[in-house]
């Protein structure tokens, strides 16, 4: 029975599964690293102990989230070769060095600064410690920078040539790294990480406010998170719009799939709100649409013509149903985030930010929304790029390793079993930490407990008193 399995589909499922797990933890740790830097900066500036309590509270969660990001990243660095060997051979000269830079920057960060951030407060003093926290935040950003540059190059390749062996080779590294979609993707993804983190922080704050309205740390974190949501959610919608226009320019088929435009519209395309895409028939069934709005959004003119997938050969179509729905999930959640931010501003104006229980319940429910939106966004951009791995140049079907179906089926099964048990436990430990209310004089990381995140830091050993201490 296993022999009938299509190795290509299985390899895609495996990559999608492992990368979906991997993306969740870094998108949280990028935002959380910056949040920790802000907390420590505010603590240094104001001396208010509540910021240090919050710093310690979230540092423990950061340690686990970062560790799981590292563990799931280890697998990613080999999967390009095991499952996508033709892709690796052809793109290695261009993408390999960029991925190696990602590894080097992550390694450097882990070696140099994480340990100090986790354990080194009494050893190096508050100011140097703050510098280490900033470096960690910067390091997570650099990791995102390189890996998103790699991904963007696959979407909008630039600065390359080809050699007689059929490989892509770098001609202009600047053009390779800063390829056309990279700035848009970087901004959109980093904002997504911030938004995701603010929703998680807001949900934890809301949870503890619902139980004890007077908890000062819960009040502070909820207020900070709601400011962040109110500011970043609209910015993210603008960034997403700009990213969409960039996609229209470079990958029109993806936008057609997002919009559900099977047909071309020479005089103004409608905005399809909902409907059931039928890939076989090439149409959206039961479509609810607003005439000409899509042309207005994408071309800024009601009657602007918009081409549909019928202008392309069928073999170049992305799978519309997946992209159509994932895009709507992302946008829908984005609008809910905007609503949450707006309601928080209203509550703040009315002076009941810490007292309005329905707002807290809404914020609690929105806690995981950032992760879902990030995943939906990634599905939109990755599935929308199909049937190519390097857009317009290398087809997915021509990228895979020459592997037998049963081999990939077995490994996929193993990944599912191991990942669900391992990451479920990690998530459980994170949730358990979140369920505890932040306290005045919040304890730091326990010194006797090894933390993968601490890396090779000598800080815990040279420091006789390994607990974080407040300054003064």
């Amino acid at each position: 029975m296993l022999a009938h399995l299509d190795p290509l589909i299985l390899a895609r499922a495996q990559f999608g599964f492992t990368v979906a797990f991997h993306i969740v933890f870094p998108s949280f740790s990028i935002g959380l690293a910056s949040y920790l830097a802000v907390l420590e900066g505010l603590w240094l500036a104001t001396g208010r102990p509540v910021y240090m309590d919050l710093f310690r509270y979230w540092l423990k969660i950061f340690a686990i989230a970062f560790a799981m990001g590292v563990v799931s990243g280890l697998v990613m660095s080999y999967q390009f070769g095991t499952n996508w060997s033709v892709f690796s051979d052809k793109t290695g000269p261009v993408l390999g060095p960029m991925m190696a830079y990602e590894v080097l920057s992550a390694f450097f960060l882990e070696a140099g600064f994480l340990g100090v951030m986790l354990f080194g407060m009494t050893k190096v003093g508050p100011r140097l410690h703050f510098a280490a926290t900033l470096m960690v935040a910067l390091g997570t950003f650099f990791s995102a920078f390189w890996i998103l540059s790699v991904n963007s190059w696959m979407q909008t390749p630039a600065g390359y040539g080809t050699n007689p062996q059929g490989q892509f080779v770098p001609l202009d590294w600047w053009a390779v790294v800063f390829n056309p979609s990279f700035p848009f993707r970087l901004v959109h993804m980093v904002l997504a990480a911030y938004l995701t983190t603010s929703l998680v922080v807001g949900a934890v704050g809301a949870w503890h406010l619902l139980r004890d309205r007077a908890n000062p740390a819960a009040r502070t974190m909820f207020s900070m998170a709601m400011w962040m949501a109110a500011l970043v959610a609209p910015a993210q919608i603008l960034a997403g719009d700009a990213h969409g226009l960039n996609t229209l320019e470079h990958q029109p088929a993806k936008v057609m799939a997002m919009e559900g435009h099977y047909q071309s519209h020479p005089d103004g395309a409608p905005l399809v709100l909902f409907g059931l895409p039928d890939q076989e028939a090439g149409t959206i069934r039961y479509a609810v649409k607003i005439p000409k709005l899509s042309s207005l959004v994408l071309k800024h003119a009601l009657d602007a013509p918009l081409a549909g997938l019928d202008s392309l050969p069928r073999k170049d179509w992305p799978p519309v149903p997946v992209v159509f729905w994932s895009f709507r999930v992302m946008v829908g959640l984005g609008l809910l985030m905007l609503l949450l931010g707006g309601l928080s501003l209203l509550a703040r104006y009315q002076g009941r930010l810490y007292a309005w229980a329905p707002l807290h319940r809404f914020a609690l429910a929105m806690g995981p929304a950032g992760f879902v939106a990030v995943l939906a966004g990634w599905i939109t951009t990755e599935v929308g790029r199909q049937p190519y791995t390097v857009y317009g140049l290398l087809r997915t079907a021509d990228s895979a390793s020459p592997l037998a179906g049963p081999a990939v089926a077995a490994s996929l099964t193993a990944f599912v079993v191991v990942y669900f048990s391992v990451f479920a436990m990690g998530t459980f430990y994170i949730l358990r930490l979140m369920a505890k209310p932040p306290q005045v004089g919040e304890p730091g990381l326990q010194p006797g407990v090894p933390i993968r995140t601490a890396g090779i830091t000598p800080a815990p050993a040279v420091d006789p008193d390994r607990h974080l201490q407040p300054a003064e």
């Binding site: 070769g81 690796s88 436990m425």
Partner: protein, 335 residues
């Protein structure tokens, strides 16, 4: 042209260094995972864990460096080797994932400590066996057609690859035991010393078996090792292995503390040197040379700029942290 040739050799040595750094550094902490069920539950296990707690994660990152470097600088080799060794490589990765989280969860979740200890051992054993099998399968040769792997998905499984797999697990256990001799005291050290003696015999026997089998895998290995005048140089390697094995045995009996670990490292160095003699300048033995697999100069230079700055920094930092953690360890961590 000459310049680019030099760069390719330089990169081959950088990657070989990363692989060797990985083998010896993750080797001793995988070895402790392998020996774990033999150690007494309670204080002994906690002490053994504590002895590797601060360093094992940094050790493992060299594996990512090796894989990432191979992809960047020898993409063809990366694209041929990984699919050929699909099963052992994925088994290794999953083993490492399991072991890595078990390491942490064991402290966070004392109620299930026995379960996580088991996961720690199973993950370590699987990773060690898989790494040895990978090496064995690479040595015995993999089928290549054009620019792709052309064999089946069970090709890696032969008596030879299994022999190398078991040998590496034994050798890792030796490294782990000598590490414990260096880092612990009392009954645990005594137990580690006895284990290390048995494992010395096992390791030298394993190296001998693998070395004896290797020249018969491919004619080129045989010529490399046995033909005149090469044999005058290459014969020194097994001779040195025998000497190192004897020295290790002696120092273990005479109460050496650090010497056993250092000599065990030397054994690994000699074996790695032997491996280099067998395959250089190939990256896929008998099929693809480093020059055939090399990425263009533009890629090599681009990465070299960063690597030249970052690798020495990382090395210095690693050395510093090993220096800091040089003493004896007990259940409460380093003294």
């Amino acid at each position: 042209m000459l310049y680019s040739v030099d760069l390719t050799i330089l990169w081959a040595f950088v990657i070989a260094f990363a692989v060797f750094a990985y083998i010896v550094m993750d080797g001793f902490d995988l070895g402790i995972g392998i020996l774990f069920p033999i150690l007494r539950p309670g204080p002994d296990r906690d002490t053994a864990m504590n002895s590797i707690a601060p360093v094992w994660d940094g050790n493992e990152t060299w594996l990512v460096m090796g894989g990432g470097g191979l992809f960047a600088v020898f993409p063809l080799a990366y694209a041929v080797i990984l699919p050929a060794l699909y099963a052992p490589i994925l088994a290794m990765l999953l083993g490492l994932v399991f072991r890595g989280v078990a390491f942490e969860f064991r402290w966070r979740d004392p109620g299930h400590r026995a379960v996580w200890d088991m996961a720690f051992t199973v993950g370590s054993v699987v990773a060690a066996l898989a790494q040895g099998i990978t090496l064995g399968a690479l040595l015995q040769g993999i089928a290549v057609e054009g620019r792709a792997y052309a064999g089946g998905w069970w090709d890696w499984l032969t008596p030879f690859s299994l022999l190398v797999g078991v040998s590496l697990a034994i050798a890792y256990a030796l490294l782990g035991a000598t590490w414990l001799v260096m880092r612990t005291e009392g009954l645990l050290q005594l137990q580690a010393r006895r284990l290390a003696q048995q494992l010395t015999v096992g390791t030298v026997a394993a190296v001998a078996l693998v070395s004896a089998a290797t020249p018969f895998l491919q004619v080129r290995y045989f010529e490399r090792w046995m033909a005149m005048p090469n044999v005058l140089v290459t014969a020194q390697v097994p001779l040195l292995v025998a000497l190192a094995g004897y020295a290790l045995w002696r120092t273990l009996r005479n109460g050496g503390e650090r010497a056993p670990f250092l000599i065990a490292l030397g054994l690994f160095g000699l074996s790695f040197l032997g491996l280099g003699i067998s395959i250089y300048p190939d990256v896929v033995p008998g099929r693809i040379t480093i020059w055939q697999a090399a990425a263009p100069e533009a890629s090599q230079i681009f990465l070299l700029v960063g690597a030249a700055a970052l690798i020495p920094t990382i090395l210095a930092y690693t050395a510093y942290s090993y220096w800091v953690f040089r003493g004896k360890v007990d259940t409460h961590g380093y003294h």
